[in-house]
Amino acid sequence: MSLLVPTHDKVDARMKFSFTREQDDLRRTVRDFVTQHHGRDALQSISHSGYAFDETSWTQMARQLGVQGLAVPESFGGSGVGELETSIVLEEMGRVLYAGPYLSTLLATTVLRAADDAIQTEFLPEVAEGNAVLTVALVEEGRTWSSPGRSTVAHAGVDGHVVTGRKVLVTDPAAATSLLVLAQTPAGAAWFIVDADAPGVEVTVSTGLDLTREIGHVDLHDVPARLVVPPAAAGAVLAEVLDTAAVALAAEMVGGATSCLEQAVSWSSERHQFGRPIGSFQAIKHRCADALVEIEAARVLTHYAAYALSESTPDASVAASMAKQAAADAFAQAAGNNIQIHGGIGFTWEHPAHLYFRRAKASAAFFDDSTHHRNRIANLLSI
């Protein structure tokens, strides 16, 4: 069997597994921005005082770089490019452990893009402008992303719907201006949009394993909500969100892993013991070489998955799961390797190594763990 399905409609396209110049430029631009605004100092600040949403940087990122607008169609004020571009952004963000609501907003934007024009007109330009922060409220107590639960219900009233229920593992619940909520109607699950300021919305922020991601739960008590995606299409949209999340997280993790390896290699030539840099010992070299290989495998799978999603190829879902599980393994290995090579100081609170390690383990579990994704691969490939 071949997982790569040949296309016959692109007549002039030669074999090319690489990015375009524009995509490389985007990478450079984003890298510069996040290094400047979300670099080591920002991580130090998170270590000392915890995560705080940087609203200035958020609006700058939208208006100067058009980052939030990448996923927004041109007719609604964005640049309407695809998953290759957003995965480049996420990879660069992952490198510095960018802490902010980009991923949350991206996933919610994916839901909104399935809505009718009226809804899209109302919300998407605000996303592109950086005026809105969105998130997805999906999972219920004791459930997972791929099987989120049915306890949250939406009742149709005179003036639209009202939603009641508890959603957990919500990212950026406090920063969000609107939440995309999956709730049950008599006709099945549907997506609704809820104003974060609406009466009956109760947000609780928790201290997560990943100190760089705002996480918590949201209780909804008869909250006014607008239908965004009706039951007939809601399942397909959920599937799209899950695949988008898998690839997005994979990209972040590849970026994070790459940085961990760079940090480890850099330290290994600075740190001298026994009269020589510790990187000159084969044990250290071999750990780094193995990490390099794992990261490269995850990287190519992630780039392919982004391509597959952007082209809606038949193997897109398999590719997304392959990327997520490979990136999770690679990041965990690289982040653990980084702590080990740093020795004692790698284990201190002050050093950023543990922030990367926490991000690696948390992201591995996010939007379903590797066991789930490998199981999904096995199912989709009829193993």
Binding site: L3, K16, A326
Partner: protein, 411 residues
């Protein structure tokens, strides 16, 4: 981003299929169904047919008998052969067609190219590689087999080991010491030497599978004319190491097609053995699928760089480490799936001594067990995994070299 062959190349694959269809008997299930002897004969017949059709040496310049096409075609043909469950090559082609041929194109004189290359394509000359010695394995630069120039002839004395398919070859490209007083890397020369002469003796080595795919080659006053010097005298190290790198480029992609086919058979084995519902087995098979796709993509990435005329990136240097370590894991999984059936291996032995068996191979336990045993050699030959990791760390990651121990004098 377009990880597919272009329309012309895909068309070429279809033409190849039409060209080869007459060779395939009714109910063709793959060359893997043939017993090793029949497989060998079939592979030779196929090769002759491919030469006829101009499918060998596709990316070599036409003036030497090649097809003058872009490297994309070479990879595409290899993938298509696997898809049709045909032998990817005859064993000596790795050494002649891939390694030595590419080296000659880069380092050879015009006269050498005209003399050797067409005969490599036609298959008239079969090649093997004389590098390792009993005392020079990982430390290849310490090679001691000597060559002295006398009246326009090199006189070679010494011993090479781990020479694959020497017993089927006509020629050997051999790394010899031509200056014992120079630093070890600076006293080596690469020579092409005919094997059929009284001064050369070939002895098979029996390996852990019980088979003999490797040999020792003894040189006692073996001779080869000066015109068979490849590259500069005493400049052999650069030539020899470049040759090892020519295995890279698109090679990862073509190997991936074979590993993919092997994985299809492994999944089928799990189903036949009633273990396809086992969670642990499913997890590992799914992991393998991702691993092989990544292998193919890394190959496409290198191929892209080749087509763009850019220098090949780090993923090419990982290729050997990646596939050999993967194969160790995949064959371990095969053993686990076989369970008690591995205790008394039965049936057909593999037709290919390293890497995946021929496409369409049956589910005989002897095939899987032998492939598993041979997989232990893959992490050793052509640069051990340890050496590969050192190279990746030093050349790609820029990590500091180990301090040198005072080197003993070369013998």
């Amino acid at each position: 981003m377009h990880p597919h062959f272009d329309a012309d190349v895909q068309q070429f694959q279809l033409e190849l299929t039409d060209f080869l269809r007459p060779l395939l008997p009714q109910g063709w299930q793959g060359s893997g169904r043939l017993e090793p002897d029949a497989y060998e004969a079939f592979a030779e017949d196929l090769r002759a047919k491919l030469v006829e059709g101009g499918y060998i040496g596709l990316s070599w310049p036409t003036e030497y008998g090649g097809g003058g096409r872009s490297p994309e075609y070479q990879v595409a043909v290899a993938e298509q052969l696997t898809r049709m469950k045909l032998p990817p090559a005859v064993p000596n082609d790795v050494f002649g067609l891939q390694m030595f041929g590419s080296t000659l194109l880069a380092f050879g004189t015009e006269e050498q190219k005209k003399r050797f290359l067409p005969r490599i394509i036609s298959g008239e000359d079969r090649w093997c590689q004389g590098y390792s010695e009993p005392q020079s394995g990982s430390d290849l630069a310490s090679a001691a087999t000597s060559a002295m120039l006398e009246n326009g002839q090199w006189r070679i004395n010494g011993q090479k080991i781990w020479t694959s398919v020497a017993h089927k070859a006509d020629w050997i490209f051999v790394l010899v010491r031509t200056d014992s007083s120079a630093a070890k890397h600076k006293g080596l020369t690469l020579l092409a030497c005919p094997l059929d002469q009284p001064g050369i003796e070939i002895r098979p080595i029996r390996q852990i599978s019980g088979e003999s795919d490797f040999n020792e080659v003894f040189f006692t006053d073996a001779m080869t004319p000066e015109e068979n010097t490849i590259g500069e005298v005493n400049g052999g190290w650069a030539v020899a190491t470049a040759l090892l790198e020519f295995e890279r480029g698109g090679a990862a992609a073509t190997l991936a097609a074979r590993f993919d086919e092997e994985l299809d058979r492994l999944v089928e084995l799990a189903q036949v053995r009633g273990k396809a519902g086992n969670d642990s087995i499913r997890q590992r098979l799914a992991w393998c699928r991702g691993r092989v796709l990544a292998m193919r993509l890394m190959g496409y990435k290198s191929l892209t760089q080749l087509l763009d005329g850019r220098p090949i990136g780090p993923e090419a240097a990982m290729n050997k480490l990646y596939w050999s370590e993967y194969h160790r894991v995949a064959t371990e999984l095969a053993m686990e799936i076989l369970g008690e059936q591995a205790l008394i291996p039965e049936g057909r032995l593999p037709s290919i001594p390293d890497g995946p068996d021929a496409p369409g191979a049956p589910q005989d336990s002897a095939g899987w067990v032998t492939t598993f045993l041979n997989a232990r050699s893959s992490t050793i030959f052509a640069g051990t995994s340890e050496v590969q990791r050192n190279l990746l760390a030093e050349r790609i990651l820029g990590m500091p070299r180990e301090p040198k121990v005072a080197a003993p004098q070369p013998r």
